[in-house]
């Protein structure tokens, strides 16, 4: 069930250059799944008209709270970064279909590939995979050293490789360079990040079971406005589509045109 809730801020913390970690109390934590997102009204009544989609980075059922990690990239995220304890944030969610955690068989290996601000949803995914007895490997790409976050947190769950575009941290280059360079083996792939990265992964591992989380500009966030559609790859009639907000944001590789 999707709910709209005024969520109390538990904490907010800057964890990298322009990147913030915001933890909120919210009933939606009891039902949310990794890879799902929330639609956040930033800045209160006077704030921007449209909500902002932000992935769930971790879900704490016991405390009834959840965490988002976001980069300040415009007006809405800037306003969100200014929320502190005691304040409330208007959150709609959980939205979309998350990563299919059970598709990774216990005892096999899953590789989690994230780029930039696509990294956050992989964290809760990794935690749940590990809980299920799946081996996880993380390959995370960032622009530059100051943009890197959550390396330690991921490392506690499984081997973690970092790439930066400018080589200022970890390996220089792209996540795909690491996968081939380190000759990483895996059974299932989960990825979230920029379109070129997702395309490269889809092309690079056509035979693997792979799940990709997409992004699109959104209106409603719940499937009603047709803002966020993408075409399906096997489009017989020229008008087949999926909605990123409600059919995704996670799709099996090969399902939709990225």
């Amino acid at each position: 069930m999707i709910t709209k809730e005024m969520c109390k801020v538990v904490s907010q913390e800057q964890i990298a250059h322009s990147v913030f970690k915001l933890t909120l109390k919210g009933r939606l934590s009891s039902k949310a799944k990794p890879g799902q997102f929330v639609h956040v009204k930033t800045g209160g009544a006077g704030g921007p008209l449209l909500r902002r989609p932000i992935s769930l980075a971790s879900i704490d059922r016991d405390n009834g709270s959840f965490t988002m990690i976001f980069r300040v990239s415009g007006e809405g995220t800037a306003l969100l970064s200014k929320c502190g304890p005691g304040m409330e944030v208007d959150v709609l969610g959980p939205l979309g279909n998350g990563f299919p955690v059970s598709e990774a068989v216990p005892g096999t290996t899953a590789i989690l590939v994230g780029g930039g601000i696509g990294v956050p949803p992989l964290y809760e995914l990794s935690r749940q995979l590990v809980e299920n007895g799946v081996y996880v490997v993380h390959v995370l790409g960032f622009q530059t050293a100051s943009a890197v976050f959550y390396e330690k947190e991921f490392a506690l769950l499984g081997p973690t490789f970092i790439a930066t575009a400018d080589g200022s941290y970890g390996r220089k280059g792209f996540v795909t360079d690491i996968i081939s360079g380190e000759q990483l083996e895996f059974d299932t792939l989960f990825a979230c990040g920029p379109v070129p990265m997702l395309k490269a992964l889809e092309k690079g591992f056509p035979d693997k079971k792979a799940y990709l989380s997409l992004e699109e500009r959104m209106g409603c966030g719940i499937g009603a406005c047709f803002a966020c559609v993408c075409r399906v790859q096997d489009d017989q009639n020229g008008h087949s589509y999926r909605k990123v907000c409600s059919d995704g944001p996670v799709f099996r590789a090969g399902e939709v045109v990225i």
Partner: protein, 313 residues
Amino acid sequence: MKKLDISLPGLNLKNPVMPASGCFGFGREYSRLYDLDILGAIMIKAATGEPRFGNPTPRVAETPSGMLNAIGLQNPGYEEILATELPWLEQFNVPIVANIAGSTEEEYIEVARHISKAENVHALELNVSCPNVKEGGIAFGTDPETLKKLTKKVKDASDVPVYVKLSPNVTNIVEIALAAEAGGADGLTMINTLLGMRIDLKTAKPILANRTGGLSGPAVKPVALRMIYEVSQKTSLPIIGMGGIQSAADVIEFFYAGASAVAVGTANFTDPFICPQIIEELPGLLGELGYEHILECRGRSWNNAGQPAYHRA
């Protein structure tokens, strides 16, 4: 508590609030959030002759107090809507206003003929104002003669009353409204979106793939009010007003301007519970303002237009 019921051609509304076309799909998503029975009516997404994929993405962009959209009339085609969506909507005790669009007169007529036969379709909304498709759409809504002709034909083809949805992108809205009236329209809905654009600072490219799109939301409210004010004084057709409505106070402002019912579009995205909230708040606000029934507000800005209001303390 009967402060909100309104009777319009084809539409017996328990209250004058309905979601606007294109902002509510076919109701399925919002039905998971609240009981659609409470709505005055539902204006469903535009139906065309054939299924349409619409425009490439990005299809929306944000603007100050507004948004641009260039969905491009994506819909599964009227046959599928008749086969699946409308029957599903029958479980609700809510009249449906079917928004119809087309690239040719023939397409409009075909869609009107068939979709107006559905049990729960109580009125058609003739969309001659979509700015986001290459052919048809807005072209039918900016030339009075073309509009009159189209209205007449659609009216002949339809089993239910026809409301013509006016485009605000015109020099003379009254002229267009009178053309719709002359063509036999039973009512007007206004306004559709204003043509607008945003450009990305970093890439220098239009944010929308379609480049331009339709502006909606509170930013356009003053334009909508002005047009309804002008048109309502010059035609006898009832007007379903829309454009930036976000609150019960906004609804009353639209009635003052001359609307007989309202539709809520963009605000559903800001707050998916906005329609039930407005419906709940309206009776109280009417009471505070001293009205027994919302119809007392209709056209009040020009009905009893004396000196404008302005007082200290």
